[in-house]
């Protein structure tokens, strides 16, 4: 019986490229970024910030994008590693924590240079709830896409693989959202953006345990 199976599998054999899973992942990241940008057309309440061109010359815009982009990149990198059987865990959570801590240090420096009376504005901004809500909303389809790509590969540690999908999706969703977000405070960034991305990562870890089975 098993001999028949081996015969059938051998007859079914077609050449494959060991680079295909990585190409598929990169394609998915590109599609996810594009799909995220589409949300600006679809969701009436979401718009590119009016001062986007002017903001390109400011530090806070790039600081935000560096934060979200770095976390998305760590997520995608961990996805690439965890999509192969017997992959060594690349230590994604550690790198994510390092990135977050680096930006948290900047946030603390900003707080230290600000009178305590103004801290409230730095922490809460004007759009804290909207920020977390939109990052989570945008990340849902992106997370589904990342999980689908991961499932096509061969993850053997489903929780961690799901977490990597969530980090990539959350980082991408936050990157997209930052184009429509006028908040400039690094304190706001590490708290609310951090919260949105972390929640997506945890959702991915929980969903991965069943969604990634193959």
């Amino acid at each position: 019986m098993t001999d028949d199976l081996i015969e059938r599998l051998a007859e079914d054999l077609e050449p494959v490229s060991p680079r295909r899973p990585l190409r598929r992942l990169l394609l998915a990241v590109g599609v996810a970024a594009g799909a995220g940008l589409l949300a600006f057309l679809v969701l009436p309440d979401l718009a590119f910030r009016a001062d986007l061109v002017a903001a390109l010359h400011g530090v806070s815009f790039w600081l935000k994008l560096a934060f979200t982009g770095a976390l998305a990149a760590i997520g995608a990198w961990a996805m690439a590693a965890l999509s192969r059987p017997a992959a060594r865990d690349p230590g994604g959570p550690v790198f994510a924590a390092i990135v977050w801590s680096g930006f948290a240090a900047i946030a603390l420096a900003v707080l230290a240079a600000t009178p305590p009376a103004d801290w409230q504005a730095l922490v809460m901004g004007e759009t804290a709830r909207r920020c977390v809500g939109y990052i989570l909303l945008l990340s849902v389809p992106l997370l589904a896409l990342m999980l689908a790509v991961m499932r096509r590969a061969a993850p053997t540690r489903l929780g961690r693989a799901g977490w990597a999908c969530g980090l990539a999706a959350g980082g991408l969703a936050a990157s997209v959202y930052s184009l429509g977000c006028g908040e400039a405070s690094p304190v706001f960034l590490v708290i609310w953006y951090g919260l949105g991305i972390a929640a997506t990562g945890l959702t991915g870890a929980a969903a991965g345990r069943w969604a990634l089975r193959w």
Partner: protein, 187 residues
């Protein structure tokens, strides 16, 4: 052991690289070899003998479908072992068995099939050595040592005298000992 394992790993890996390129003959050889390993591995761990063949087939199919996730820069046995272990965990989960699966590495996966293979290799060596003995010596050894008859029973069965059996067993054993000792010294 490690030398054998490394050579084995290199062989399997070149078969897998050829398989990824579409070489069906290499693929067939690879899957047959892997099937042996998997059977030994699952037989020791599945608990339920009737599940072994299912697990082997599931793992072979997974290897087939996921063969593009093998990175030729990585050890192949580790890749196969991770898939086999994943399928075993899946099996435990499906059967609601709370078995604790040891976190063994692929070295043990390789070793899983080795006792059977070792015995088969020893049998092959013995057959080859026996073929070089004279017919009466080989027969005397087979009757007394392999089938376990007494010298009297062997004499009755073969129609030779008791002393002839004793002499042939003695000479046959000496010839085998010399042969294996000589090979060991030369290897």
């Amino acid at each position: 052991m490690t030398v054998v394992t490394e050579r084995y790993e290199a062989q399997l890996r070149s078969l897998m690289v050829a398989s990824q390129a579409g070489d069906a003959a290499a693929y067939r050889t690879l899957l047959r070899d892997v099937q042996q390993r998997l059977t030994g591995y699952f037989r020791q761990r599945a608990g339920d003998p009737s599940a072994v063949e299912d697990l082997v087939q599931e793992t072979l199919m997974a290897i087939h479908v996921k063969r593009d996730t093998y990175d030729p820069g990585q050890p192949l046995t580790a890749w196969i072992y991770a898939i086999a272990r994943y399928k075993l965990v899946d099996f435990y989960r499906a059967h609601r068995r709370r078995a604790s699966l040891p976190l063994d590495d692929e070295a043990q996966f390789l070793a899983a099939a080795d006792p059977a293979q070792g015995a088969a290799m020893a049998r092959l060596d013995l057959d080859r050595a026996m073929a070089e003995l004279s017919a009466p010596q080989a027969e005397a050894l087979r009757l007394t040592k392999v089938e376990g008859l007494s010298v009297e029973e062997a004499a009755a069965r073969s129609g030779r005298g008791v002393s002839a059996i004793k002499v042939n067993v003695h000479r046959g054993l000496k010839a085998l000992r010399d042969r294996f000792a000589g090979r060991e010294a030369s290897s």
